[in-house]
């Protein structure tokens, strides 16, 4: 801190922030919160996966996807299908007219397990599917759109339409998907009861650990050449293209990465909450996910995590005590984040708290004085 050059002092600062987050997730929350609250935080953290993905593709890559709920939902549904099959063993479903298939299929006169359910008997297949199903869909959308240079607003609207399509499809095909109720009554994962408090605590730690790993991965991606190309693309796409880079492939990659993160988040969500339904897939949740990211700061990975935590905590708190006010508060938040602090909490922090912190720590080191303010200024200027 005392004599380090500016760049590495910034790096260590970033590491420090990361460690603060890790300590918060792995030590502070588990100590302070009871099992129920901890499970809630775990649920919020699954949205943080999506928000981190959105920082990559929206904040850094300039691709606003309004269909992240689709990927979240696909990941979640893959996991839910595995758990549901495990819960519907022939013994457990003996009272049905056709034992051995999930209960909602029985109610809807589906007598045979559909073909796309078959592979979900295997846990390893499920784990792969949680990531790969969203990635494949993202790849198809990405290639179709980016190779033809569709971006910005049009991309947002089309991803939104895809979210609408998937929701209608899931609700319409009740016999295969559980319809509007979703896939419920999930009990065990490989024989391990996921409904117990211990299991939920373990799952919380798994979620936190995976989230931290994903943040590190995302940071690595952003720190690499790829990350710099992404930002360059966001700011001046044509120049990057004219410099000989295949802009579309970079976009496809980052979109797929964001989809993979969302899928993982969805699967962890299913595990912790114990069900999956179309209400996490459609347009409304997808846009809410964007707002988690925007509130935290669309340019900051850690900001996105805090954004997901804070907005969801506020949502729970508000809708518990003033259900009427919640939509007003949420709406006002959307407008405020766009008009007043477009860089979210991270931007506010950089602008107001960091200089203060600087002044207080000012006596400690001269080197730490200038670069962060420059960084803060850069944050301000980014569109």
């Amino acid at each position: 801190m005392k004599t380090t050059p500016s760049a590495s002092s910034l790096m260590s600062r970033e590491n420090l922030y990361f460690l603060v987050l890790a300590a918060l997730l792995l030590l502070v929350f588990p100590v302070l919160l009871d099992a129920f609250r901890l499970n809630l935080v775990g649920k919020y953290l699954t949205y943080a996966f999506v928000a981190v993905g959105l920082v990559l593709c929206w904040g850094k890559g300039g691709i606003l996807s309004l269909g992240q709920g689709v990927f979240f939902g696909l990941g979640g549904y893959c996991m839910a299908m595995f758990l549901k099959l495990e819960a519907s063993s022939p013994e457990a479903t003996a009272s049905q007219s056709t034992p051995g298939i999930p209960d909602f299929m029985d109610w809807n006169q589906v007598t045979e397990l559909p073909w796309f359910w078959q592979p979900f008997h295997s846990f390893s297949f499920t784990l792969i599917a949680v990531v790969m199903v969203p990635v494949i869909l993202a790849f198809i959308i990405g290639v179709a759109m980016f190779k033809r240079r569709v971006g910005g607003v049009y991309f947002a609207i089309i991803t939104q339409a895809i979210a609408a399509i998937l929701t209608i499809l899931i609700i319409g095909q009740q016999g295969f998907t559980g319809g509007a109720n979703g896939i419920t009554d999930l009990r065990t994962l490989m024989g391990w009861d996921i409904r117990s408090n211990e299991a939920k605590t373990v799952l919380y730690f798994v979620t936190s650990g995976l989230l931290l790993a994903c943040v590190l991965l995302a940071r690595h991606v952003l720190g690499s050449k790829l990350g710099r190309i992404l930002v360059a693309m966001r700011d001046q796409e044509d120049r990057v293209r004219f410099s000989g880079y295949d802009v579309a492939s970079f976009k496809v990659f980052v979109f797929c990465l964001a989809a993979a993160l969302s899928g993982i988040g969805g699967a962890l969500f299913t595990l912790q909450v114990g069900f999956m339904s179309p209400s996490f897939v459609g347009i409304v949740p997808s846009i809410e996910m964007v707002i988690f990211c925007a509130v935290g700061g669309r340019h900051s990975l850690l900001g996105a995590v805090y954004g997901a935590l804070l907005v969801n905590a506020a949502k729970t708190g508000f809708s518990e005590s003033f259900p009427e006010l919640w939509l007003y508060a949420m709406g006002a938040l959307f407008i405020a984040v766009v008009l007043a602090f477009p860089n979210g909490i991270a931007g506010l922090y950089q602008r107001y708290l960091m200089p203060l912190e600087k002044r207080m720590l000012g006596g400690l080191g001269k080197a730490a004085n200038t670069p962060p303010t420059a960084a803060a200024r850069r944050m301000e200027e980014t569109p």
């Binding site: 606003l64 309004l66 959308i141 179709a144 759109m145 033809r148 240079r149 569709v150 910005g152 607003v153 049009y154 947002a156 609207i157 089309i158 939104q160 339409a161 895809i162 609408a164 399509i165 209608i168 499809l169 609700i171 319409g172 347009i283 409304v284 846009i287 964007v290 707002i291 925007a294 009427e324 939509l327 007003y328 949420m330 709406g331 006002a332 938040l333 959307f334 407008i335 984040v337 766009v338 008009l339 477009p342 569109p383």
Partner: protein, 308 residues
Amino acid sequence: MFADYSMPELMSIFAMQGFAGLSLFSIFVLMALGLAIIFGQMGVINMAHGEFMILGAYTTYLTAGLFENVLPGLYGIYFFVAMFLAFIASALLGMLVEWLMIRHLYHRPLDTLLATWGLSLILQQAYRSIFGAREVGVSLPDWMMGSIAVTDLVEIPINGVIVMVLTLVIATLVYLLMFRSGWGRQVRAVVQNRPMAEAVGIDTGKVDRITFALGCGIAGVAGAAFTMIGSTGPTSGQLYIVDTFLVVVFGGAQSLLGTIASAFTISQAQSTMEFFLSGSMAKVLTLLVVVGILMLRPQGLFALKVRR
């Protein structure tokens, strides 16, 4: 799937579904015209468009109540008054929103999306607080109800015809306003080149405000028309927003003619398929085809050939 029906039955199915499609088409056009102005011409993604529509619908509901209680003798014409009031109400709100919010965001289209989504949440909750969560409907005056029997099998509801005529009139008016009036020329000039338009003395701020208000006003009229065929609830607007955006994008965002053509294609496809498949599958198929075509032809059906 056609084998179960005889030829005349098939013909009348197509006629009826075609007509149902035409009513859907009218609604789509009414909703999409407003959005085509706001999104296509101004480049603002207005996610609260559905809520402006609902404002029009609620205005109609209030007007109907007023006529019922105060002027029962004139109930027959309440709809036209309501339509006018719906236009005024939505346009005024639109003007306010433009002044408070949208004008700060013209250079950030994606952010207008988030901000207007926030606005839509606030409006939804406001409707819920004011009108209650229950859906409300209006009773139509006698002359608007009933249907005309064309043949034994084919019947055409009168309110559908009225919605259609209304659509036709409004679409024509919008066309004249946008492409045949001095004001429309100003709008298009501002959209194409803001600094240049400013330089030749156009008050761009004012043009923007009126354009946005006009788009919202048309949404209000759409809402008024909507009360003739369905009931209105606080969240009804959200159901249509994706459809409307797809209609506008599919038609080619900058082309009013494209908007109308794509509304026609989408509504006819949907209503014809609806008879043979379940409603949700028909919708899924239609949306899938639209998205597929958009992936192949991102500029939409009627892309303006402009150099950028």
